[in-house]
Symmetry: C2
Subunit: 582 residues, 2 copies
Amino acid sequence: MLIDKINQPADLKTLSANELNNLAEEIRLGIINRTSKIGGHVGSNLGLVECTIAMHFVFDSPKDKIVFDVSHQCYTHKILTGRKDGFFDEDKYSTISGYTTTAESEHDHFCVGHTSTSISLATGLCLGRDLLKENYNVIAVIGDGSLSGGEALEGLDFAGEYKNNLIIVANDNQMSISDNHGGIYKNLKLLRETNGKAEQNFFKDLGLEYKFVENGNDISSLINAFLQVKDTTCPTVVHICTQKGKGYMPAESDKERWHFHAPFNIETAEDSSQAPYGFVQYARDLLIERINSNDKITILCAGTPGAIGFFAEYREKVEGRFIDVGIAEEHAVALASGMAKAGTKPIFCVQSSFLQRCYDQLLQDLCLNNNPAVIIVYSSGIYPMRDATHMGVFDIAYTSSIPNLTYLCPTNASEFKDCLDFAINQNSSPVMIRLPMTKFVQGDSAIDFTKKSYQIVNSGSEVAFIGLGNHFEITKKSADLLLEKNGINATLINALYADFVDEKTLDELVQNHRYFVVVEDGILQGGFSQKVSAYLSKHGAKTLCYGYKKEFMDRFNLKEKLAENRISEDLIIEDLLSIISK
Amino acid sequence: MLIDKINQPADLKTLSANELNNLAEEIRLGIINRTSKIGGHVGSNLGLVECTIAMHFVFDSPKDKIVFDVSHQCYTHKILTGRKDGFFDEDKYSTISGYTTTAESEHDHFCVGHTSTSISLATGLCLGRDLLKENYNVIAVIGDGSLSGGEALEGLDFAGEYKNNLIIVANDNQMSISDNHGGIYKNLKLLRETNGKAEQNFFKDLGLEYKFVENGNDISSLINAFLQVKDTTCPTVVHICTQKGKGYMPAESDKERWHFHAPFNIETAEDSSQAPYGFVQYARDLLIERINSNDKITILCAGTPGAIGFFAEYREKVEGRFIDVGIAEEHAVALASGMAKAGTKPIFCVQSSFLQRCYDQLLQDLCLNNNPAVIIVYSSGIYPMRDATHMGVFDIAYTSSIPNLTYLCPTNASEFKDCLDFAINQNSSPVMIRLPMTKFVQGDSAIDFTKKSYQIVNSGSEVAFIGLGNHFEITKKSADLLLEKNGINATLINALYADFVDEKTLDELVQNHRYFVVVEDGILQGGFSQKVSAYLSKHGAKTLCYGYKKEFMDRFNLKEKLAENRISEDLIIEDLLSIISK
């Protein structure tokens, strides 16, 4: 195998054209094998194999610096820069992250997982290089939908006036994660159809040089193009046309479903993850029902319909009432505000980690205007994700400070339904709902939203447990354990509202409760429990707050991470008894 | 006066061309008079008088909906829609806000103060209109620098695929707040020079229709253009070329300084606000010193150099080391991360309210990568601003949850200098510094940053006062008052770190202090005091937290607002004594 000889990019440079092509096929197998076992970004990586080989053939990494946008397409880069074991040795798959990460290699310059950042980060490297009078190439690799994000567009606009070496590889695979959306993709299409020669050229408009590579899966064309732009002293876009999923038939034919894929059987292409029915599917089916019975509802999403369960066949069921704005989260929130202002009911479905891109739009465009749009937050808390870049643990904390925003955290399907119907049927303010991310539980609820209050599940005394959202279950188990161990019949509360300190309920509780335990599935600092604790503090009640310490959690063991933060019924009761006994 | 007859837009429609021109001059005087007395956006509004008259002549507001970007150029709109008293009756100047606000009029569709939001908000109205099968025009008025913001570019990209009525008036006054920055402005220049005929057309390339108006201060040309696009069923950009500051000579000749201006003498154009030397000037002079002695420093700003004291003559002093990226805050943070990664020391100077646009870039691009860039936060807290859209009261709360970020809140010039030098000289993590916003105090400090800890100003017992940043002074006065009134020698602490709970210091204090008072200049929910309170709570210490309740504060009386939140030495001591006596 050729791959056996490749331990660093320099090893590529002695290979013949034929050998490079053969190496590409070997790499492809490594990618397919790894993703079939542990899941990953199949299509994105298969499309970029040749481009990555050509980049490392032409440029001298890490002196020349390649910055991957989103970085979910960095597998070939990792294979070529000393990390092939993560793809060719099954025992070591899990030692290598699916994203660029500075801790792994000097060839990775940034930890990246969100889209549209590469041009700005790369331009930063360029300005630093210029100031220090150093000399190297900086290459930003963007595409796969990222071009429509505001940060990328700001970066392109800035690069249009920059006057030294910067190479922007625009990987045009005719796809975002799902279909492409936005006018810029019409221009890419025109450029493809004219072999890059159309006068109408978005990149040139901004002042950038432009080069077109018709076959972005042909190594020699790519090498030729990169040699032409290497060491140039002006920013250049190299527009390469690639085939997403190339080399694995199922991924070539259903590009959306194979952008990211759970573990699968290579022969049959069947999903082998055995993922059970969960809240994402429940929410999707419920949303389809609600759309069909309410003319005013539109579902909005920002480039990730699959992540919210809306693959093509489901989008078709609500024709015209599902709008994918492409990767443009800021626009999505402002759009929702406008649609609500106009008298309709937009429901923006977004992953917690990506909602971070809209703090100001939430605050100003939506909440200052108090328009009654609905936001459903997916992939929140500690359960669904393991990469630092995608952890949904910040949303409760950073939305804490936003006036007019109701943030509901239901604990089961029935409560989610109640919350959604409340959000749809009210018109007084924006409502955000955190979709549960635990194992699917149907539940049986009938929440009375006429009074905004915590839900009292059990009335006891001495100790009150207050659980929020995904961690309500652990809170409940803690109360049960306390009863079992010490005979204390504690009060148990399902807080439901992440944004709200229920002063009335707390004032009552403080009369016959000396100890409070608050548990949330998010970062402690700035979060829900600290709000409750601060309110109780003036009464001198002792409160234990449980959430995560402020850190970036990356590729952790769930059980260990929970234990580190003392989130389990055993540890909580241990802590509680130690203060009670004092 | 013609203006006497204008009480609503319909009153315009009977005026002759000549009368419309005369009306424009009357309005101009109103704008100059008002801003000369209470300050405001002089240049931006003077340039848009004719366009606004033409819009209200052609369209039927509020049925047709005009959405102003940033909305600091809405004065003529307000004058024409029933609010002329705010411009022509000196006693009523303060009754009308300088921004569009839904509470004031049905002609204002959104509360807006941040840039780059209009296209997305307007498109939201369009989609809502379409869903309800209604029929009206939606007009977004953008320009004056806003086009380079990511949200605007996302909006344009989306609009390029939209298929019904949307009119985007791009006000091209050849200026941002300061000079224009970014490649898009090169294209606008080309379009101006070719009378809109150049093949290279950024808007057309995104799929938008395009119309050029050479003289955007000529009412009849504008009316003609608007009549052509009224009721059309595709999105169209109307590119109008206007003169910023038109009609007031000083504002025409120094566009940057007159974008916004403090009260001034109309005859002499002299500033009559008598603003004293403050922290902004101090920081600017210090930054210039540091740049001159350190080759690695670059100052970054995002479109607002004047707000950080760097008018043209100061930028010239640090030639090439001051980079205005234009209105593109997300790009600025990512750029800073890249520059720091490359081994240099970028210092991004940004207003608190605008930093809100970069939560995710702070979290992911900067702090996850732990690159040692410096951010200086201006216009923070309650003192500098009075408009809901510009209040800098959220930063402590929403950055609470960001790992790796040190956020320093010095209380005087000397401490600011210590903080800045620490931030410049360390290379281990990003450091953010909140520039003090109180009356200028020189101070005399020598902070020891080798140990990260709160600063103990006075050691006492029983009660500990912990003050942060701008409100340290009130905390100190409270301690003094307590001593005076009750003879209690309280401990006084200058917290310095907004991001940090100093557990060691608190553990010591809790031994001989039963009551804690924490005061910060920001929203309470998610803020600094709640973190301290939550930590103390497990010890059963009673803590009083002072900051602002979660609300949008708009055009308030400072003293009343502080009192409402019980932030004064008298009220704090009153609260404290009431719990001590319990």
